[in-house]
């Protein structure tokens, strides 16, 4: 077992060193640190590391440390992650003390701005807590005070004021002084606000602040808008754009989407994650259940995995130990120099804006790649031909350059000529905000796909919805995209939506009223969809028991939309390793378990109305592993086969922005500002020759389908496993969608090669039949 040494800078400035296994998860180290600190109320805290771009990132507790830190720099800092709005509700003094330490640092560095008087007051409580009562006979107290850092622009006058106030605190215990400190600090307007640089739709520098109550928008020091969590329906990001979808107000009829531009995609993703976490922590009773979420969510996989504030309060109310003794120290602020302190303050925005223009990460050309690796035993059917009846509507125009090079499993597609290395990436992540609901019906979840930036009319047509019931029964509707001809970019325009707590129904016809406007259209398209689904299944065996065409369709859609799923990666609690295991398990199931009982099929074929189908969801499947056909693997000898080619489409993306209320009031919604993103999409498909028929012959029957998502540093892998029965053969098809994301520093070829290699290793008895390289380049953006 390989061990590495981790260095963790604690809040008092001391360094904590410990050894962890090289493959340890973030959680392990975090617990080690908390143990060292004797901290029980740990959920407010987290570990940070500096990424390659010197950005402070939160260490994900559920993931391996090694895969997050990227560099071999095992250096971390222990920090407050969620600032409790009312610190007096914390159970233990030690927790309050640690919060004080963080705030002292925040205040001294200027991250938490405060007035002269407040600086002095906070400083005086700090002295009282750290060194106790003022000693009148202490020589030259001012000299001592001036050695400590209390404020970014500390001066003699302030120090005198601190001393004056400090004298008045005589008799206060350290814990009382901490409490007073927190009572004052918590009222500061920037308390607990995590600031991110951004630009509004007009390219104006703003700051976005994430906090317990929601999202704040600042221009310079001024708050120009605020979106409370309950107002936010959905949070998403795509490339360097960050979007929130706003619940319509009492008088408004439509939801609106507000878009912001971040410096780069990493910044957008970071902001998105912080939003997801803060919302979960402060607004939910419990984190979203991972298993269900996994199934439904074809997209982003990141979710807050820790305890929510409600849970941690509950847990800490049970703390039953004598108050641990600990020593308060002021050593840190004595020695610290503020020069290097990375801080963002709202006033900075303006100044930085000038520099921004020159920074390389504002590169307007971006590029991304989505790779689909098909690992499937035996079947080498062309995906595109599968869709034939509907592909024109379903898929984006996937046309690609004739390619003669083989892309068999061994022939890693790394031969693909990648475009410039200066690539930014196609990323879209979405989370639909789940608000605390008093009603305990956890039912319906809607996953809808549509472009976050698209005007609502288009959106309506494009949405794809998945409704999920408590028992993880899914009604899925997939619809062809209508305006193919207009917007050809397709996949990047999709979005996933997640509406919790709506009532549930199994069959499509029962889907309740409150469905969105799209429903009508969806209904019309239902039939088509069903057809496609049937055709979509592959050649395989055994009489059909279960139809799950919806899922199949969704797979096809994924196929055509690609990023839809992978990039709107929805979260899972499961870690990579676990996911991988699961993939394996699934695979085994399909081959090793020959018992199929038609009656056990969770949702019979026999319900004719259910054209759009009830699907046996993930959870259920795990409990009922019996419905698999005989294992009958057919090895494909994949030969290269050329598919299609396409011209680069151009997409216009619009966004509706109301980033400041003034504008909003003046124009209600400033729909006129239309940033246009020209995007070039190119899809290259490598295909192995087909073994059996064209697959469009007999319709197979889909037995199970499953989507698993996992993520590493620069790749996101969505594994979609489908088992189909056709003519007495069962077939397991595993489709991996790997989104390789990153900037210039990523070697796409290598990442792709690695992905294919991993796929092969994981499923040695399968062969890669198809590799689709999809890359997207943002042509230009003019602000």
């Amino acid at each position: 077992m390989k061990l590495v040494v981790c260095h963790v800078t604690l809040l008092d400035g001391t360094d904590f060193t410990c050894e962890v296994e090289k493959r340890a998860k973030g959680q392990y180290l975090f617990f080690k640190v908390c143990e060292h600190l004797n901290l029980l109320e740990k959920d407010y805290f987290g570990l940070t590391y500096q990424d390659n771009h010197d950005q402070k990132c939160w260490l994900d507790p559920t993931k391996e440390i090694k895969r997050q830190i990227r560099s071999n720099n095992w250096q971390f800092a222990f920090n407050v992650k969620f600032y409790p709005p009312d610190p007096s509700l914390l159970t233990e003094d030690i927790t309050r003390y640690l919060l004080c330490l963080q705030l002292r640092e925040d205040v001294a560095s200027g991250r938490l701005p405060c007035s002269f008087v407040t600086h002095a007051l906070l400083g005086s409580y700090t002295l009282q807590a750290e060194i106790g009562d003022y000693e009148p006979d202490q020589p030259r107290p001012l000299d001592f005070i001036s050695q400590l850092t209390f404020a970014p622009n500390q001066n003699k006058e302030m120090e005198e004021k601190i001393l004056e106030l400090y004298k008045s605190h005589r008799g206060m215990t350290p814990a009382q002084a901490d409490t007073q400190f927190l009572e004052n600090a918590k009222k500061l307007s920037m308390y607990g606000v995590d600031l991110h640089h951004a630009k509004d739709s007009e390219g104006v520098d703003i700051m976005l602040g994430v906090c317990a109550n929601g999202l704040l928008v600042y221009k310079d020091r001024l708050r120009i808008n605020r979106f409370a969590w309950p107002k936010i329906l959905k949070i998403s990001y795509k490339r360097n754009n960050f979007y929130i979808k706003i619940r319509p107000g009492e008088t408004e009829q439509f939801e609106s989407t507000v878009g912001f531009k971040l410096q780069n995609h990493r910044a957008a993703k970071r902001l998105w994650k912080v939003c997801v976490e803060n919302h979960s922590f402060f607004r939910l009773n419990a984190p979203e259940p991972p298993t269900k979420a996994r199934f439904l969510t074809l997209g982003s996989k990141f979710r807050y995995s820790g305890r929510t504030q409600a849970q941690t309060r509950m847990a800490s109310s049970l703390i039953d130990r004598p108050a641990p003794s600990f020593e308060r120290t002021s050593s840190k602020r004595t020695s610290r120099s503020l020069d290097g302190a990375p801080m963002i303050s709202i006033t900075e925005a303006g100044r930085e804006s000038a520099e921004n223009g020159r920074e390389p990460h504002l590169e307007l050309h971006s590029d991304s790649k989505v790779t689909v690796v098909d690992v499937s035993p035996g079947d080498a059917e062309a995906m595109l031909s599968q869709h034939s009846p509907g592909s024109s509507e379903l898929g984006p125009p996937q046309v690609s350059v004739p390619q003669t090079e083989a892309a068999t499993a061994d022939n890693t597609t790394s031969d693909t000529k990648e475009p410039a290395k200066t690539t930014e990436v196609e990323i879209e992540e979405t989370v639909v905000v789940q608000e605390i609901s008093r009603a305990p019906k956890p039912g319906l979840v809607t996953v809808a796909a549509s472009p976050p930036a698209a005007p609502s009319a288009e959106q309506e047509m494009r949405e794809q919805e998945v409704k999920v019931q408590e028992e993880a029964v899914v009604v899925e509707e997939a619809k062809p995209r209508k305006e193919e001809s207009i917007s050809s970019e397709s996949e990047s325009e999709e979005e996933a939506e997640y509406h919790p707590y709506l009532p549930v129904s199994i069959s499509h016809t029962q889907i309740p009223e409150e469905k969105e406007e799209e429903e009508e259209q969806e209904k019309q398209e239902e039939d088509k969809t069903a057809e496609l689904q049937v055709l979509a299944s592959d050649a395989s065996s055994l009489p059909a028991e279960v139809i799950q065409p919806a899922e199949e369709t969704s797979r096809e859609e994924e196929e055509s939309r690609k990023e839809d799923d992978t990039e709107t990666e929805e979260t899972e609690k499961t870690t990579n390793a676990e996911e991988e295991k699961e993939v394996e398990r699934e695979t085994e199931e399909s081959t090793d378990d020959p018992m199929v009982t038609p009656d056990e099929a969770p949702n019979g074929l026999t319900l004719p109305e259910e054209g759009v189908t009830v699907i046996d969801a993930h959870a259920e499947e795990e409990e009922e592993p019996k419905m698999n056909g005989e294992p009958s693997l057919i090895e494909a000898e994949p030969l290269p086969q050329v598919i299609c080619c396409s011209e680069p489409p151009v997409v216009k993306t619009e966004m509706v922005t109301i980033s400041d209320t003034f504008a909003a009031q003046k124009t209600e919604i400033a729909t006129k500002e239309v940033p246009i993103v020209h995007t070039e999409t190119k899809t290259i498909t490598y295909e192995a020759a087909q073994l059996d028929g064209n697959g469009d012959g007999e319709p197979g029957v889909l037995m199970t389908a499953q989507t698993i998502t996992s993520e590493s540093l620069c790749t996101t892998t969505t594994t979609h496993i489908t088992k189909t029965l056709k003519g007495g053969l069962s077939e397991t098809r595993i489709e991996k969608r790997i989104v390789i994301t990153g900037d210039c520093d990523i070697d796409h070829d290598q990442a792709l090669a690695q992905a294919i290699k991993e796929a092969k290793e994981q499923h040695p008895d399968m062969s890669v039949t198809r590799v689709v390289v999809h890359k997207e380049t943002e042509l230009a953006e003019e602000d």
Partner: protein, 282 residues
């Protein structure tokens, strides 16, 4: 020990200024009306008397300046919060001179003076609503974004949100604080819209008291030792319907104050004084 936001409405001092004869003819106004100077002077004297005698505030009375017809409306010249005073840069050029005397008076009261020197900034105190927890700054004909920014910089502890003022002279032409967490608001559409924005922008919850007349929504709240909640509001003579609404406030010591003449030159109750709390602050 007073920390942040302690004792909203506690005041010890008030700065007021006399009415120059030039007010009758030269003071800025949004509608052409005749001002009866004698009545205006009398009205103002009564106002000052309430502050001094009835409420026991220490009143600093600045002499009127004939060259500054609007100088009685001292509120626009300075924003005081805690022991910091921001000397503004009034939006109307003819009023810029008003800040000089105000600065001197506030300096004498030992307040920390912050001056708005930026020539691109304008701010009238009438556009600044301090709720005890945060500031709302109306962006109006008189106040611009830059002015609001400088205010935010002067009072770093507090959130400063901007509110568009599309109708009326100032933000406080249709609203004011009627108590801690209580916003008095006019019932016109622009007023209600502005309130909505303030509510959206705020992390705090405010109660609202809607009065039929926008101008009547401008009142002065104080929390004084031995007197408790005090509210100076419009008279029944001026706004009968709105006065009825105020009369329903049971916990407040209600003091109707006439403003019939000054309103003709867009002066409201808050306009005529700058309130300061000297003792409670550190």
């Amino acid at each position: 020990m007073a920390g942040l936001m302690a004792g909203y409405g506690h005041y010890t001092h008030a700065v007021v200024r006399g009415i120059p004869a030039s007010l009758a003819k030269e003071a800025l106004r949004s509608s052409q009306t005749e001002v009866d100077l004698a009545k205006a002077v009398k009205e103002h004297e009564a106002y000052v008397e309430v502050l001094r005698t009835r409420l026991g505030l220490e009143v600093v009375e600045l002499p009127a300046d004939e060259s500054l017809p609007d100088c009685v409306f001292v509120e626009d010249a300075a924003v005081v919060c805690g022991d910091t005073a921001l000397i503004t840069r009034p939006g109307a050029e003819s009023r810029r001179g008003e800040t000089e005397a105000m600065k001197g008076a506030l300096k004498d009261l030992n307040l920390n003076i912050v001056e708005m020197t930026d020539e691109n900034a304008t701010l009238d105190g009438g556009d600044v609503l301090f709720t005890g927890r945060e500031f709302f700054v109306g962006l109006s004909k008189r106040t611009n974004q830059r002015g609001a920014e400088i205010l935010a910089d002067a009072f770093k502890d507090y959130a400063v949100s901007t509110v568009p003022v599309l109708d009326g002279l100032h933000l406080k032409s249709f609203c004011s604080m009627g108590g801690p967490g209580l916003i008095v608001i006019g019932s016109s559409e622009p007023a209600q819209k502005a309130l909505k924005i303030m509510q959206q922008m705020s992390d705090h919850r405010y109660d609202k008291l809607t009065v039929p007349d926008d101008l009547a929504a401008n009142c002065i709240y104080m929390n004084l030792p031995s007197k408790g909640h005090v509210l100076l509001h419009c008279t029944a003579e001026e706004f009968p319907e709105s006065a009825k609404v105020f009369e329903k406030l049971k916990d407040h010591m209600l003091i109707p104050v006439s403003n019939l003449e000054k309103v003709k030159v867009d002066g409201a109750l808050t306009c005529c004084s700058v309130l300061i709390n000297k003792k409670a602050n550190i």
